[in-house]
Amino acid sequence: MNAPRVIDVRGLRYRYPDGTLALDGVDFHLCAGECVALFGANGSGKTTFALHLNGLLVGEGSVRVCGVPLAASVSAGDLALVRSKVGLVFQDSDDQLFLPTVLEDVAFGPANLGLTPEEAAARAKVALEQTGMAGALHRAPYHLSSGEKRRVALAGVLAMQPEVLVLDEPTTALDPPGQRDLIALLRTLPQAKLLVTHDTSFAAALATRAVFFERGRVAGEGGLPEIVNRFHWSR
């Protein structure tokens, strides 16, 4: 793919404070418009890796997001820039939804970007429309179903209009129609996408390339069927 790299990671290592080596020299790239599936067993470092792409964790090695280097010494301005470019949808939607109403929650990100309250609310409404949650503007997030929370969490990220979407286990808590809707929605989005998932059929519907993590390293990379067969990653 000749498109520019929006994520470029080289030799990334990260050790948690308790001494656990979570990432051990990861090399990875994601090009503009590309959709990549990230597979791996539980505890293989997938989520830890995703947190590095947004600057929530900073390890050793090189991480560049849309050309901006992310290191321990990154400036607050660059960090804010990276967070505006990488939209991270968390595995547990309850982590992401914390404001009293859906509208306020989805507008939280755009407002943090410095938009006026009116602009932030307008963006939030568009994002909620995209995810089919426009009817829930004034509902309390903690009263939504799991699937609805998932959609609102995604809307919260889309409202920031990022260049890269990182979705950590996006199909968790979604019923089959919800998964179909999510696939249809993601297909319409032009952003580069990294799907951290165990769901091979979901990944197959969207991703053109797959990466397999094993004990904090990239154990394999290639076409999706090839990776699934090579690592016996199907039911």
């Binding site: 947190l51 947004n54 929530l56 607050a76 804010a80 967070r83 505006s84 991270l88 968390f90 547990d92 309850d94 982590d95 992401q96 914390f98 404001l99 009293p100 109403t101 509208l103 306020e104 507008a107 939280f108 990100g109 407002a111 943090n112 970007l113 006026t116 309250p117 009116e118 932030a120 609310a121 004034h138 309390a140 903690y142 919260g156 990220v157 920031m160």
Partner: protein, 241 residues
Amino acid sequence: MRSAARETWIVERWSRGSSPLHSLDARAKLAALAVYLLAIASTSAWTQAAVAGYAVILSAALAASRLPVPALLARAALILPFSATFALITWLSGDATRALALVEKSFLSGLAVLVVIAATPLTDLARALEAFRVPRSLVLVIQFLYRYLFVVADQAHRMRMAAACRQGIRRNARPRFHAAAGAVGVLFARSWERADGIYRAMAARGFHGTFPALAPTRFRTVDGVFLCGFALAALAVRLML
């Protein structure tokens, strides 16, 4: 814990209502509340006429809030067991008038605070506190505490359900006490993890220490009129009755 969250949610729902009091600027409401509380606290010659005067002022605010009065009164009465304890001691020491004043003052003050909280969304209250130069770190702590209350309550509810499913028919209190004590520790650890997750999710969406507001604040003439009217009425009761 669950009931604390339920109560908080009820007040949260009330605060999202629409009424003349809801529509006022949070700064005006907080400033009026401060004057009212100071007036009550500093009224030394506490007479039943003064009680009536302060009650009339508060009733006007209550009417303007369109909040459910019996429910508000019931919640404001939660303060009475505490103030009644001190009132009882005062009464036993021979000062029945002061004892009665203690109960009445605390109830009126508690109700006034509740009316303002129930008629103002927390985000607006926080911004008003910041406008009054309350340290930002303190305002943030209040906001996080408020948000995490739901998180901890939800966690506690799930754990209680899981425990109930496996509780069986054992009636002995001691093992149950041990299990409950252990569960509190687990609840703390899980809540800590959840709070950490929430903070990460906030940081991922650009949070930099200030909760943004969706509605711009404007201190309008009506806010000034309310503040002056409410404060002057409280001061009039303080000085004249």
